[in-house]
């Protein structure tokens, strides 16, 4: 363990680097434009405050536990954040004296003004120091506030700020009167912040009591025909289906986001079968997504004369409707899954990854090419994709309407995933994942297992693609790039490889969150990258890891010895 001073400098150095990074990549300046609490605090300032709190906490981590809640703790925390503020002071001085801008475009006078609270001279620097010091005090103060309150207050503060940041998502859900009272056009009013903070504190303080209630709730069950399901699950499903219709006016953006999350969940389930079950690292999963999307678009748009001609000659109609195309999408993606699966049967590991990556790129290049322009629309993409209709009357148009369709598709994908996981075929895939040679020796047909994994995965991605293009009405080839494959893979891993609820959590975290923070898009991928690294370093098993599952047969055969056997 470190002495307090050493710990303080170590943490201070790390904090300084982060603060410098944030300032020089322009995050502080950009985030400063967003006021979270009117006339009080901006997102940029919060960012610096966050760094300072983090630095203080990190410094405290570095000294022995028994010394933290003493004067040593204060010393460590405050010295460490002072180091951070010293760095920022030096940065402001440097910007004022030499032309750092020759190299660092964000080292502007504006940045200095933000850092020194628009106060010139030494007073500004002192203000900066005091501001950063507040972070340190908050960090170390956590240890000194009595037990439930430190948690309650910090979480309440966090929740309040999040409600300020996510204004665009929260406000449509609240009645107008409340929105006017609490929010300004960009963030919270002061009064709103106080009200929310108090409210959250109250909720969190009384939470233990609610929790006890909730536990009795969980034991209740609802009878549905021959089966029973737990009440919370039932309520969840009811809400899932009732909410869109209720919120359809205000929540169009919310469902826009949820639709995208849903489409990624479907793809996540599909890729989970390929990577999670069968262990085939597929980096070109976007290929099937594109195939599904383009099948839907090509067969239903009125735009492409060549295809229209062909369809008129063969079936007598120039376009097909959504429901007619869905089976075609399934068949085509199934076939392409097998076709792309055959060549990679004999390759493993990274070679497999790079080959599939190649497939993804080939599909994208073919879609964009002049060669296939008469059939696939080329660089201009395709407009006029069919929307689903019921009985020729009711047309699905809005994002909340698509949400139902997507939820149902997720349900089907989930059902297939669960059944596959517990089936013979699924176990064969897992056996191949663990050791292909042994699996073969045990008589498992590895060709069938691998191909069926690829094909199932492909169908799910194809369906996701079909929904995607129908929902968008027009598609462009640039949408289908390697980033989608990477994104789906990342959401699997962030959620927890092989875990089905993990897919949902991962999609919410990697698709939903960035969507909400779209306005800070310049830094979206920066944060995304940092989050991936941090996630892998500190929680590599994922946010919702798969529990080790034991089959009923194994339980019967091995009984108590199961623990020793460590199956899976």
């Amino acid at each position: 363990m470190n002495t307090p001073l050493r710990a303080a400098f170590r943490a201070g150095l790390a904090g300084s680097l982060i603060a410098l990074h944030l300032a020089l990549v322009g995050m502080v300046e950009a985030f400063n434009k967003r006021e979270i609490i009117q006339d009080t605090v901006t997102l940029g300032q919060l960012l610096l405050l966050g760094v300072s709190i983090g630095t203080a906490l990190y410094a405290l981590q570095l000294i022995p536990q028994e010394r933290r809640a003493t004067r040593d703790g204060w010393l460590t925390a405050l010295v460490s954040v002072s180091v951070v503020s010293l760095t920022l002071m030096l940065l402001s001085l440097a910007i004022q004296t030499i032309n750092l801008r020759f190299m660092f475009q964000n080292a502007s006078k504006e940045l200095v003004r933000i850092l020194t609270f628009h106060t010139p001279g030494v007073v500004g620097l002192v203000k900066l120091w005091l501001f950063i010091l507040v972070g340190g005090i908050l960090g170390v103060g956590y240890l000194f506030v009595p037990r439930p309150w430190n948690r309650v207050l910090s979480i309440a503060a966090g929740a309040t700020l999040i409600m300020g940041v996510m204004r665009s998502i929260v406000t449509p859900l609240l009645p107008d009167l409340l929105v006017d009272a609490l929010y300004t056009a960009s963030g919270l009013k002061r009064i709103g912040a106080v009200v929310l903070f108090v409210l959250w504190s109250a909720i969190l303080y009384t939470y233990p009591r609610w929790k006890a209630r909730a536990q009795t709730l969980q034991t209740l069950e609802v009878r549905l025909g021959p089966r029973t399901i737990p009440l919370p699950v039932f309520l969840g499903i009811v809400v899932l289906f009732a909410l869109p219709a209720i919120l359809r006016e205000e929540g169009s953006y919310l469902f826009e986001v949820l639709d995208m999350v849903g489409i990624y969940i479907i793809m996540g389930f599909g890729l989970n079968i390929v990577v999670g079950y069968a262990g085939l690292l597929d980096l070109g999963y976007v290929a099937f997504f594109a195939i599904g999307a383009y099948t839907m678009a090509v067969l239903s748009t009125p735009e492409l004369p060549v295809v229209r001609e062909f369809l008129t000659q063969t079936i007598g109609r120039s376009t097909l409707n959504f429901w007619e195309i869905i089976p075609i999408v399934i068949v085509i993606s199934l076939i392409s899954g097998v076709l792309l699966g055959v060549p990679v049967l004999k390759t493993h590991g990274d070679y497999l990854a790079i080959i599939t990556l190649g497939f993804g790129e080939i599909i994208r290049l073919l879609v964009i090419s002049d060669l296939l322009k008469p059939i696939l629309g080329g660089a201009q993409g395709i407009t006029g994709v069919a929307r689903p209709t019921f009985f020729g009357k009711f047309v699905i148009n809005e994002s909340w309407e698509y949400f139902y369709l997507i939820v149902i598709t997720i349900g089907i994908a989930l059902y297939i995933s669960v059944r596959l996981r517990d089936s013979r075929a699924g176990r064969a895939m897992k056996a191949i994942r663990e050791d292909e040679e042994v699996a073969k020796a045990m008589g498992i047909d590895h060709v069938a297992a691998k191909l069926s994994a690829f094909a199932t995965g492909a169908v799910m991605a194809g369906l996701a693609g079909a929904l995607f293009s129908s929902r968008l009405y027009s598609i462009a080839p640039h949408s289908f790039n390697v980033l989608i494959s990477i994104n789906v893979l990342c959401l699997l891993i962030v959620g927890g490889m092989g875990s089905l609820p993990g897919v949902v959590v991962g999609a919410l975290a990697l698709v939903g969150l960035p969507e909400v923070l779209r306005e800070f898009a310049e830094f979206r991928l920066l944060v995304y990258g940092a989050a991936l690294i941090i996630m892998m370093l500190y929680k590599p098993e994922g946010l919702w890891p798969e529990r080790a599952r034991v089959s009923p047969i194994a339980k019967e055969v091995f009984g108590d010895r199961l623990q020793q056997l460590k199956i899976e």
Binding site: M103, D350, E361, V447, V482, L532
Partner: protein, 359 residues
């Protein structure tokens, strides 16, 4: 003899047959396309030569990046997705030195010295980035399931790209021109009159030099031996007194330095740097490394050159003969198709894999 054949035939699976059919189809297309275009005589011999030369130049760049890629892979068996960003960080940072030197007039008075300074800075920055990447992001994950470091590398790739974009600029920066590398050299002035740009030659020669240097380093120095030992078996190497952590750091440093040098050549040849410049070359370089047999230094070189030439010659030779419009647009598709074919029929690449065994 017949017995043996029958024995072999029994072990041909349906998969093999399917693969052969695919390969045969592709080969037929290639042959028909090439035949058409060659008999049509659309291009002169000189023009074919031009295709090959520009392919070699582009291939040298791929090779330069692939060398770093392949070293890291050879020792850690990990796709360092962020290697393209290591490649970008150096020349992007060194641009500002280059610009400064140009403003001070040094690029005009002592061009080669100025270039050397820029090159050194670029290599330094790339090395620092590569080593700290290894120290902060990859080392804690050693021994984790192999997908975990891959995701980390993808994250690092985004992080570095957007960090440098934020620091410097989201736009492009144009590198200054270097007088001695402008213009062309003429080979065989009497017979062939082969006119090749100096820049292309410089890039080609330096990539060969770098290969020799790296090869010698890995093969003949003590650290090189340590690298090979670690690549072969980390635990055994550790038992033999090799400092595994240090060795891996050195490998990253060497790979980073090579990327930094490659980056400057890239910047000089194509006159521009930006934050995204590492992404596609990185992908291609990885392809090249796989093509040559990953973990194999001469293989990476060969793979890079091969890929470059294939991309350059392929569209005209194979596709145009089949009547494909805008064939050049599909050059990456050709490259990847070839990669797929290669990996199916010779999965270990041109020269076979493993840093430890061969290079």
């Amino acid at each position: 003899m017949l017995e043996r054949l029958r024995y072999r035939l029994r072990y041909i699976s349906g998969t093999d047959i399917a693969l052969w059919i695919v390969a045969a189809l592709l080969l037929t297309m290639i042959v028909v396309g090439s035949y058409n275009i060659l008999t049509e005589g659309r291009y002169t011999g000189r023009q074919w030569l031009d295709f090959v030369i520009s392919g070699l130049a582009q291939g040298s760049i791929y090779a330069l990046i692939a060398l770093g890629y392949t070293m890291v892979y050879g020792i850690l068996f990990m796709i360092n997705f962020a290697h393209g960003e290591v490649f970008m960080s150096g020349p992007f940072t060194a641009y500002f030195l280059a610009e400064y030197l140009k403003q001070k007039g040094m690029f005009q008075s002592h061009p080669l010295l100025a270039l050397l300074l820029v090159m050194l800075l670029s290599m330094l920055v790339s090395t620092v980035i590569a080593v700290s990447l290894e120290r902060l992001a990859y080392r804690p994950l050693r021994g984790a399931p192999r997908l975990v470091p891959l995701i980390t590398a993808i994250g690092a790739s985004f992080f570095l790209q957007y960090t440098f974009r934020g620091l410097y600029t989201p736009g492009f920066k144009a590198y200054p021109e270097v007088e001695p590398l402008k213009g062309t050299w003429v080979f065989f002035p009497n017979s062939l009159h082969l006119e090749i740009e100096r820049m292309l030659i410089a890039v080609f020669v330096s990539s060969v030099l770098l290969l020799i240097l790296l090869y010698a380093f890995v093969q003949f120095t003590k650290t090189g031996r340590a690298i090979r030992a670690v690549a072969e078996d980390q635990q055994a190497a550790a038992l033999m007194g090799v400092d595994v952590d240090h060795t891996i750091s050195v490998t990253f440093a060497v790979g980073g330095a090579a990327a930094g040098a490659a980056g400057v050549f890239y910047a000089l040849m194509f006159r521009q740097v930006n934050y995204f410049m590492g992404f596609f070359p990185g992908l291609k370089a990885f392809t090249a490394a796989v093509l040559g047999g990953i973990g194999n230094l001469p293989g990476a070189m060969l793979g890079g050159l091969f890929l470059g030439v294939f991309e350059s010659v392929g569209p005209s030779l194979f596709l145009e003969g089949l009547g494909v419009p805008a064939a050049y647009q599909l050059k990456d598709a050709i490259a990847f198709t070839m990669l797929v074919l290669f990996l199916i029929f010779r999965p270990t690449g041109i020269l076979g894999e493993r840093l430890a065994k061969r290079a």
